[in-house]
């Protein structure tokens, strides 16, 4: 792995880490509940991007399945929380 790619991976990972910190600030500040749900959804996506980048870093295919699971559970949790805020219960 050349210095260009490892440097780019380091840069991208630090970008994602900063993005996670900023999103977590929104998660703690968020004036309303829907802001927090949106921030949590964004956190899930950033975790997915970090997992895929680590897959390139370690040249392993295992990270792909982890990222797929993160995407699935992120969708389910955001939908469930939005439904709960909308209706007051998840399964009617």
């Amino acid at each position: 792995m050349s210095a260009v790619l490892s440097g780019a991976i380091l840069l991208a990972l630090s970008c994602y880490a900063t993005a996670i910190v900023l999103t977590a600030a929104r998660l703690f500040m968020g004036p309303s509940a829907q802001d927090r749900v949106l921030a949590l959804d964004s956190l899930y996506t950033n975790g997915l991007l970090i997992t895929l980048t680590l897959g390139i870093r370690y040249a392993s295919n295992m990270y792909f399945e982890v990222a797929l699971l993160i995407a699935l559970f992120g969708f389910v949790s955001s939908t469930a929380m939005a439904k709960f805020l909308l209706r007051g219960e998840v399964i009617e």
């Binding site: 900063t18 900023l22 999103t23 959804d41 991007l49 895929l52 939908t79 939005a82």
Partner: protein, 121 residues
């Protein structure tokens, strides 16, 4: 399957895609923190979900295709999954925000379409 088998230009392409994706994810997070109202923040989080995910996925496809000397298209499943699920989640969260903000008087949100429909739709 040794990582030194990947040529320099392919690695540069992967690096450019990764940096592109990281920059847009950072811009999306800054927007999520700094935008004024909830409906503006909804736009910022879409950056991470579209351009950020596309950049990393294309980088993975290029890198693993060259590394394993076959077309490693399976990472595309993440893009397909995100393209199917992210609009649904976004619309649900936006509807939740509309519903909750309409119940508070004095908020500048659009009124529901049609006179007799319940405001929760």
């Amino acid at each position: 399957m040794n990582p030194s088998a990947v040529s320099f230009w392919i690695e540069t392409l992967v690096a450019v895609l990764l940096v592109f994706s990281g920059a847009f994810a950072l811009v999306g997070a800054v927007g999520l923190l700094r935008m004024r109202s909830f409906f503006l923040r909804l736009h910022a989080s879409a950056l991470t979900n579209t351009i950020g995910a596309w950049g990393v996925t294309l980088a993975s496809i290029v890198y693993f295709s060259v590394l394993e000397a076959r077309l490693a298209i399976h990472v595309w499943a993440i893009i397909i999954l995100l393209a199917l699920t992210v609009p649904i989640a976004t619309v649900l969260i936006a509807r939740t925000a509309l519903f909750r903000q309409r119940r508070q008087a004095g908020n500048d949100v659009p009124s529901p379409l049609g006179g007799n429909r319940p405001s929760s739709l």
